[in-house]
Symmetry: C2
Subunit: 201 residues, 2 copies
DNA sequence: CTACGTACCGAACGTTTGTTACGCACCTGT
DNA sequence: ACAGGTGCGTAACAAACGTTCGGTACGTAG
C-alpha cells in the first residue's frame, strides 16, 4: 500500500482513502481523522500532504475525475453508437468499483450545490462530458445509427438518463443489477434510433 | 410567519426553515443553530419540537415528500402520455421553488447513501414514484400513445431521465432554463413512441 | 389565587471538528 | 561527523457541534 519516497504517489494514496471514507460514510462523515484512520496513519500525515480540508477534497475529486476520464481508453476502437454505449456503461455502477466511485460523485453533489467553487468545477466537468457524448452522437448520426436532432440536446438526454440510472441503481442495488442496467441502457439507446424531431404531421 | 398555538404548524415552520438552510448551505451546513437563525428563534425552540437532529431531518424530508406528492393534484385530469408529461415537468426545476426543493433532495442523497435508515426511506420513495410512472406508461400504451415494452422498465427510463435532468439543471441553470428543459422533456417523450423492444430483424 | 403544563430563551455541557505546532527519525550532501 | 530538509506521529488549540438544563412567561383548569 505505501509508495515510499514518491510525493505524488502518497497524495494519491490519501485521495484513495478519501474515496473510501466518502463511499461508506458520505461527505458528512468525511473528517481528517477518518481519512487518517482509513489510511492507518495519523492526522499529521494527512495535513502534511494537504494543508487544508478543502484542498484535500478538491484533489480527491480532481483525481477521481481524471481517473474516470482516462479509464475509457480500454474501449478505444468503436465509433458512433457503440462508443456511446460504451461511454454510458462505463459510468454505470455495474460493479463494486463503479458503485464506490458513483457514491463519491453523488455524495459530492451536496458540497457542489452549497459551495460555489466546487459547483463551478462540477458544472464544467459535466459540460465537458456532454461535449464528449455529443461527439459520439454526431458520429452515430453520420453513420445513420440514430435519428436526427440537435446533438447537444441528444447528448443532454443521454447524460440525464445516465445520471438518473446511477442514482436509482445506488439507492436500490437489488432492483438494478448489472443485467437490468444493461437492458435499460440498450432499451434507451434503441429509442434514439427514431429520434427525429416531431415536426408533426 | 408564526402560527401560534398550533403544534403541527410550528413543526412545519421549522421544517421549512430546514429546507431553506439545506437549499443554500447543503446538508453539510445544516446545523441546529443555522435552522434557529433562519427561523429567527433560538436553538431551544428547535430542540423543543425536535429532540434530536436525526428526527429534525427525518420530518423535514418526510414533509417535503408529502408535499410533492400532494402537489400534482393541480394537474388532475389528463390520462396516459399527458399525465406522464405532467409528472415529469412537475418534478423538473423549472421555477425557483422547484429549484430549491430539488436542491434539498439532491443534497439529501449524501445522507441517504451513508445512513441505512434514510437510504431505505429514499429507496422506498423512488420505488413508489416509479410505480406511479409505470401506471401512466401503461395507460399511454393502452391508448397507443407510446410503443410497447415492459412498463416497469419504461418507468425506470423515465425516472432516470427525470432525475438526470434535475441534476444537470441544478448544476448549470443557465444552460438548462425552463424552455430548454421543456424541449428536452418533449424530445424524450417523443422517443418513447417507437420504443418497441428490439426483437431485431 | 393557585397549580401546572406548554412554549420558549439563553447558557452551559462534553465532544468532535479543522488546524497548528512541536519533536523525533530518517536521508542526503559535504 | 554534521547540518538541513523531508516525512510523519503526538499533542494541543480554538471553534463549532448536538444536546441538556434551569428559568421565565403565559395560558388554562381547579
Amino acid at each position: 500500500m505505501p509508495a515510499k519516497g514518491d510525493h505524488d504517489a502518497r497524495r494519491r494514496d490519501v485521495s484513495e482513502a478519501v474515496w473510501r471514507v466518502v463511499a461508506t460514510a458520505g461527505f458528512t462523515g468525511l473528517t481528517m481523522r477518518a481519512v487518517a484512520a482509513e489510511l492507518g496513519a495519523s492526522t499529521g500525515l494527512v495535513t502534511h500532504y494537504f494543508p487544508s480540508k478543502a484542498l484535500l477534497v478538491r484533489h480527491a475529486l480532481d483525481l477521481a475525475a481524471e481517473r474516470t476520464d482516462e479509464r475509457p481508453l480500454r474501449t478505444p476502437e468503436a465509433p458512433g453508437l457503440a462508443a456511446l454505449r460504451a461511454a454510458v456503461l462505463d459510468v454505470a455502477p455495474v460493479d463494486g468499483d463503479a458503485v464506490a466511485m458513483n457514491r463519491v460523485w453523488v455524495s459530492s453533489w451536496d458540497l457542489a450545490l452549497a459551495d460555489a467553487g466546487f459547483g463551478a468545477a462540477q458544472a464544467a466537468r459535466y459540460t465537458r462530458w456532454r461535449a464528449k457524448l455529443a461527439r459520439h452522437v454526431a458520429d452515430a448520426q453520420e453513420r445513420g445509427e440514430i435519428g436526427a436532432g440537435d446533438p447537444a440536446d441528444l447528448a443532454a438526454r443521454v447524460a440525464a438518463f445516465t445520471h438518473g440510472l446511477v442514482t436509482q441503481a445506488l439507492f436500490d442495488p437489488e432492483a438494478f443489477g448489472a443485467a437490468r442496467q444493461e437492458r435499460l441502457v440498450d432499451g434507451f439507446l434503441d429509442s434514439l434510433r427514431a429520434g427525429a424531431p416531431a415536426r408533426d404531421s
